[in-house]
Amino acid sequence: MTIRKYLRERFFPHMWCPGCGHGTVLNALVRAIETMGMSRNEIVMVSGIGCSSRITGYVDVHTLHTLHGRALAFATGVKLSKPELNVIVPMGDGDALAIGGNHFIHAARRNIAITALVMNNRIYGMTGGQYSPLSGCDVMAATAPYSTIDPAFDVVALSVAAGATFVARCTTYHVKEMIDILRQAILHEGFSVVEILSQCPTYFGRANKLGDAAEMLRGLKEGTVPVGSEAKQKNPALIERGIFAQQEKPEYCAEYEKIMQRARAGRE
């Protein structure tokens, strides 16, 4: 029950639809934080706009609910200004990688110690079910009545290429795995990305006839395999989960400390 202290119960019930995966992410996130024994005063959660972004309102840490796509830019200001804070940025798929795509790759490139969560339900939920850059081809959506022709980003490959030093994927079905991965991501000294495959039965599920939340969760269970498993070689359609990159590289705020020392050593 100790996780209750991380929640702002005053603001419940939450605004997500029945069956939405975002509540599961909230649950896993506060459990991950709880295992680390961090003070709530040391945590800043920054989000953008969308269903996923409302997660910040419910967590009793310092919370900054910003503009669509801009969460990482705000978070960069918070983190560089006060590097001792732990900065976590939950985003939706459109939020992080359509309107926020440029901020995403540049935050990754800097390797600034921020944890970016991409809560990927492959749809814009809050605006009524339009396709996102993670929907992929042959998907039905409010703005794709004849199905999508837009290929999806591979969040893992994109993050690695952009310079993120911790990159992982998990799902709302594999909750214990998610807690463990989130914990490692938050503890990582560098830019960490966790893509969380989540279900939106209201829009994505309904438009694509995927059934209710339970059936969509079964889809996440059966459609994903641990990274490096043999099943993936036999069936390339399976999506891998787990940790794809985990390396130490110079972290931005630590490097800026060195710049300050170098500047002070010089003449004013």
Partner: protein
Amino acid sequence: MPSNEHVRFIQGNEACVEGALYAGVEFFAGYPITPSSEIMEHLARRLPRRGGKFIQMEDEIASMCAIIGASLTGRKVLTATSGPGFSLMQEALGYAVMAEIPCVIVNVQRGGPSTGLPTQISQGDVNQARWGTHGDHAIIALTASNHQDVFAMTVEAFNMAETYRTPVVLLFDEVVGHMRERMVLPEPGQIPLVERLRTSVPEGVDYHPYLPREDGRLPMSDFGGVHRYNVTGLYHDMWGFPSDNPKVVHGLIRHLVDKIENNVDSIARYKAYYLEDARTVMVSYGATARSALHVVESQRRKGQKFGLLELQTLWPFPYDIVGEACGRAKQVLVVEMNMGHICAEVKRALTNAGNVFLINRLDGVFISPTDIRQALRLIAGRGV
């Protein structure tokens, strides 16, 4: 006589940097753009020496967002840009208005629209500073015509940002930004500084980040401190939690506008030259006020009763002060380098708008005293 160590021969953009450092700026985020880049170049060098943070972001959108984030951790923050970048900043500028985040934005104006005239002067962003971000709101915008005033107005901008918990726009122009002239660095303490008002609510007691005190001010609590609260660009209640309750919405928009509009007199900065008996009053601001003053003084030498009202606060527009200064004049000449942004406000301030004339140039060439004299002849019906 100021000692030599306090005398500088610098660009206006450097005067702005000196003013920001004097005011205690601790964080700058920006993106290169002419004619403002010198501000970020100098701060890239100066800030880390004093423990401040500098970051070059991926664009102006991100720059504006980053300074808001940094401000919430308790820092005095700045960004600098020009027209196209100022356009990109409008979204987050509105966020800073809504969430009441102190921050200062410099716009060294160039010719627009679009990429326009990157290295030439214009004052075409005056109305953008007022209404660039969507929705009803109030804003503070300051300007200056010389480097001593650029310094002073930059300090004022930081002070007003803290006093009113609002973004403040410094609307300089290319001529002031790039021109070099003498500036005397004030002694520490010579210009008073306003520091952030922080809450005295102790840990464990419910802190209401968005409940204004009786005087309208809202004490803040830094991110990382003992009070954990929500900040949002949505309409929000006293805890900062989203609300669409009509009473909450109405109360917040009134508060956001009233805290500025009810303090026009405290926010107004201006300079009056020869206004006491002036029959012709020029109204100008920024670099163009220099040419206007030149004309006013030469007309005075000829015995003509000319005066100048140099505005330094453009928004909120000081209607009463302008009305007072121009009310008795036979004619009012507004000198500015746009199609009449301030001229329209001057007309609104006066009962007889028919004797208000606009003297402008729109071609990127700085308006000279000769240009103004030529316009005077035209207005007098004497031809060119």
